[in-house]
């Protein structure tokens, strides 16, 4: 197992360098002025040229990239042009907020996805299957920013039950797991969870149906094993794949849904990316994308290890 982890870690290095290069180039070729956040629209071209030099954007691109990479591998992702704050702290604060939200959304998605999937798989071609399928198709196809707005209209502006936007109560400076803070997560987490719910439900349904049709299940039933025992076997067979899908979904959600986080003004990576894109804050944009890619690689690694632990047949070392 140790050798496997080491091999995967070593493989991650060229991936991260590749991602760094790609995101640097993508950010550079995007249209717009990198100094838009520190120069007002009416600034002259002369002043702009002066600022371009001050921020080092007049250097050749390879030189800019190597300088950025050299600092990045030492944990220094530079300074945001717009806020003058270190990019690393900006990204980590947002990533933790997104992780919190993504974790809750994935849990909701995993719970309801498995529930709908198992129900649909067990009761194939019945009305229960069709109902569960309707829920999962709804989850996959509904535009979640629209759902978010709908939830806000119902639960915030009509019923006054939950806050409409924000990442915490007025006056709070950090996160706490109390109702005053958690209530801000509920609507965005439900909104974000509909996609994993749909995807996990469809995956689990297929897995359950496939497992139930296998000969060993027929054999177990013939031997007189009860339905709860059969259920345990089905769960064990479906778990690794469901877990892999859940891990991937967590990764996608970690990237932050720009739309959902913007609709709810949730201070996560999605909102940060949105802000960085609109302000053409290149160091912040590069740093955020790179850190998110790093999260994704680590998450995939963790899921692979968990899968191996859950299903000894998967030997990868």
């Amino acid at each position: 197992m140790g050798a496997y982890i080491l091999r995967r870690l070593l493989l991650a290095i060229p991936i991260m360098l590749g991602v760094a290069l790609v995101c640097f180039m993508l950010v550079q070729i995007a249209p717009g002025d990198p100094l838009v956040s520190v120069l007002p629209p009416d600034a002259s071209q002369e002043l702009r040229a002066q600022m371009i030099t001050a921020y080092g954007f007049d250097q050749p691109l390879p030189a800019q990239f190597m300088k950025w990479l050299w600092h990045a591998v030492q944990g220094d992702l530079g300074t945001s042009i717009a806020t003058s704050r270190p990019v690393f702290s900006e990204v980590m604060t947002a990533a933790i907020n997104s992780l919190r939200l993504a974790f809750l959304a994935t849990l909701i998605g995993f719970f309801f996805g498995c529930l709908f999937g198992f129900v649909a798989g067990y009761f194939q071609d019945t009305w229960l299957d069709r109902l569960a399928s309707v829920f999962s198709v709804f989850g996959v196809s509904v535009p979640h920013y629209w759902l978010g707005m709908l939830l806000v209209i119902v639960f915030s502006t009509q019923l006054y039950l939950l806050p409409a936007t924000g990442g915490g109560p007025v006056g709070a400076s950090g996160w706490a797991w109390d109702w005053a803070h958690v209530q801000f997560m509920i609507l965005p987490a439900i909104t974000l969870s509909v996609i994993p719910t749909g995807i996990i439900a469809r995956t689990v349904r297929a897995l359950v149906a496939e497992t139930l049709a296998q000969e060993f299940i027929v054999g177990l039933r013939a031997k007189g094993l009860g339905e709860s025992g059969i259920f345990r076997h089905v769960v064990k067979n479906a778990a690794p794949t469901a877990l892999a899908v859940m891990g991937l979904q967590l990764g996608y959600l970690m990237g932050g849904s720009i739309l959902v986080e913007t609709v709810f003004a949730w201070p996560g990576t999605g909102l940060l990316l949105n802000s960085a894109i609109f302000q053409r804050d290149l160091p912040l944009l590069q740093g955020t994308i790179w850190v998110l890619a790093l999260f994704f690689v680590v998450l995939n690694l963790l899921v692979d290890i968990l899968q191996t632990l859950l299903d000894p047949r998967i030997k990868r070392a």
Partner: protein, 554 residues
């Protein structure tokens, strides 16, 4: 849900009863009032003295926290906001050398840290954006400052309460420019500088880190103090009971600023009671907002939404008849109706009531017959319309609703033999193109550009568009408009150091500008904002800014 709601209601009742009991027994102790504002900005505007996020930054983290030498009088909304003394009680240009201005400072003004606002502090603050050798030089603040004070060069202390500012050329507009220079406490910054770890040896890096730290507990001398900054989430300001101006000692205890860039999210936050005030509510929700008892405020802003014409060879706008025809062919009243009433019809850069309006001979109104007659004289007809191409954006700060508005203009001008092509580009790209000018390939063949602009003072409203010295890359005369008469009037206005004389010169300049018509004047924004009826004493001035200090809350 029902039980949750009942629980919620029950808790509300308990809370209300508790509050009432405390109020009953506490006698004269008044409840702490907190005003929560949803801004359009995507982040808290920078707090270290020179805000970003355009004028919304000045509005919420400039004027409340800081003072400037000269400030905007925001106490009325009937006429355009004028200048008033701030940290300086008097200012005058030297009669012998009109590049030197003497400012007499107000005595007894203290920063929030208790140190005095004196001549040293003013010089220090000018150096932070102009003197590259100064320890406190802050490149991140230069862009937003220098472009708004294009002629300021240096500051010199004469005595504790007198400073002399020097400009690169005689410039009567300097007092307006100085409203953008917010004065921070040098002592507070020095404490942050000293606290930077000794391991950071590079002076520029130490300065940068000091500014970054200073932002979280910024110290100015304004009516509000910075209490707590949570980056990207909220900024809490607390009232400064010791503010030097008795009429602006805040009545509200705390102000919390929340960045809510999405219009629907902002509106939902207001409707759900999460905030008390939002900037620029979603236009579709105006009726709902009103029906819930919220108040809507709007007033003309020094803002212009124009088409700026090109005077490059081959441009159809070189013909004055064509320029006048376009201005006469646009039905602004219908456009205003189309925008739900949230615009002011532009018949120039400055309207009636402004001291800079003047008396233009060319009266802009909706007169399609006259417009067609001018177009016929210029050689155009329905069969042979003039082809014009306008570069614009799909969105952007101050652009209001650029696509529907431009499409309306496109249709409106068609009746006067204009064949309008819209070249839509991304907002920041449009800015870049604006700076490059109409001769640059970035213009993409356009002979007009639609970039909205702040027109706070004669320089920003007229000079930068009309002076032959303001051709790209110097400033924003995108279309290379040049008129010796206009240049002479600009020189006259720049040298009119008596305020009345300056108003008269600016009015003359504006009248000449309207007659020459280098723009299609379309609209002025009215800056709509929605507020809870609990907020009292709201004055919506004819300005980009608003004074939080004079408001109260029930």
């Amino acid at each position: 849900m029902c039980s949750a709601f009942l629980g919620f209601t029950g808790r509300m009742k308990t809370s209300f009863a508790l509050t009432a009991t405390i109020a009953l027994f506490s006698g004269a102790v008044a409840a702490d009032t907190t005003l929560r504002i949803g801004m359009t900005a995507g982040d808290i505007p920078l707090t270290f003295g020179q805000p970003d996020q355009g004028y919304e930054g000045n509005r919420f983290t400039g004027i409340p926290i800081y003072d400037a030498l000269i400030e905007w009088d925001l106490s009325q909304g009937e006429k355009p906001a004028a200048l008033m003394p701030g940290l300086a009680t008097r200012w005058a240009v030297s009669p012998d050398d009109r590049t030197k201005w003497t400012f007499t400072l107000r005595e007894g003004v203290k920063f929030h840290d208790g140190t005095s606002v004196n001549a040293d502090a003013i010089v220090w603050n000018v150096q932070k954006v102009l003197d590259k050798n100064a320890r406190q030089y802050a490149p991140a603040q230069v862009g937003n400052t220098v472009s708004r004070m294009p002629t300021l060069r240096s500051a010199e202390k004469i005595d504790d309460h007198t400073v002399v500012l020097t400009t690169s050329e005689p410039d009567a507009f300097l007092p307006y420019n100085l409203t953008n220079l917010f004065i921070v406490s040098p002592t507070a910054w020095q404490n942050d500088f000293d606290a930077v770890p000794a391991s950071v040896t590079d002076a520029a890096e130490r300065s940068k880190q000091a500014w970054s730290n200073f932002a979280s507990h910024a110290v100015g001398s304004g009516p509000f103090k910075v209490e707590k900054l949570v980056p990207r989430q909220q900024l809490t300001l607390a009232r400064n009971p010791d503010y030097w101006n008795p009429s602006r000692v805040p009545k509200i205890d705390h102000v919390v600023l929340l960045p809510l860039p999405e219009a629907n999210a902002r509106t939902a936050a207001l409707l759900s009671g999460q905030v008390d005030w939002i900037e620029a509510p979603a236009p579709d929700a105006i009726d709902q907002i009103k029906s819930r008892g919220f108040k809507l405020y709007a007033n003309a802003q020094p803002h212009l939404w124009p088409w700026q014409f090109s005077f490059v060879e081959g441009s159809p706008w070189l013909n004055k008849d064509v320029r006048h025809a376009a201005n006469l062919c646009l039905n602004r009243a219908e456009l205003k109706e189309y925008l739900g009433g949230y615009m002011e019809e532009a018949t120039g850069t400055y309207e009636q009531g402004s001291p800079w309006r003047g008396n233009p001979e060319f009266k802009i109104s909706y007169d399609p017959d006259q417009a067609r007659a001018l177009m016929t004289r210029a050689g155009y007809s329905e069969a042979t319309p003039v082809k014009v191409k306008v570069q614009t954006s799909a969105s952007g700060s101050g652009q209001m609703q650029p696509l529907p508005m431009n499409e309306y203009i496109q249709q409106s001008l068609k009746q006067c033999y204009f064949d309008v092509e819209l070249d839509v580009t991304e907002w920041n790209t449009l800015f870049t193109n604006w700076r490059l000018g109409a001769k640059d390939p970035a213009a993409n063949g356009a002979n007009a550009i639609n970039v909205s602009a702040a027109v706070m003072d004669p320089y920003f409203g007229m000079v930068r568009f009309a002076s032959s010295k303001a051709f790209p890359p110097v400033s924003n005369n995108w279309g290379y408009f040049s008129d010796p008469k206009m240049d002479a009037l600009i020189t006259k206005a720049r040298n009119a150091f008596d305020p009345n004389e300056m108003d008269a010169a600016a009015a003359q300049l504006h009248a000449a500008l309207v007659d020459a018509a280098p723009f299609l004047w379309v609209a002025h924004d009215v800056g709509p904002r929605a507020m809870s009826p609990r907020i009292k004493g709201v004055v919506q001035p004819q300005s980009w800014f608003i004074d939080l200090a004079t408001m109260s809350m029930e």
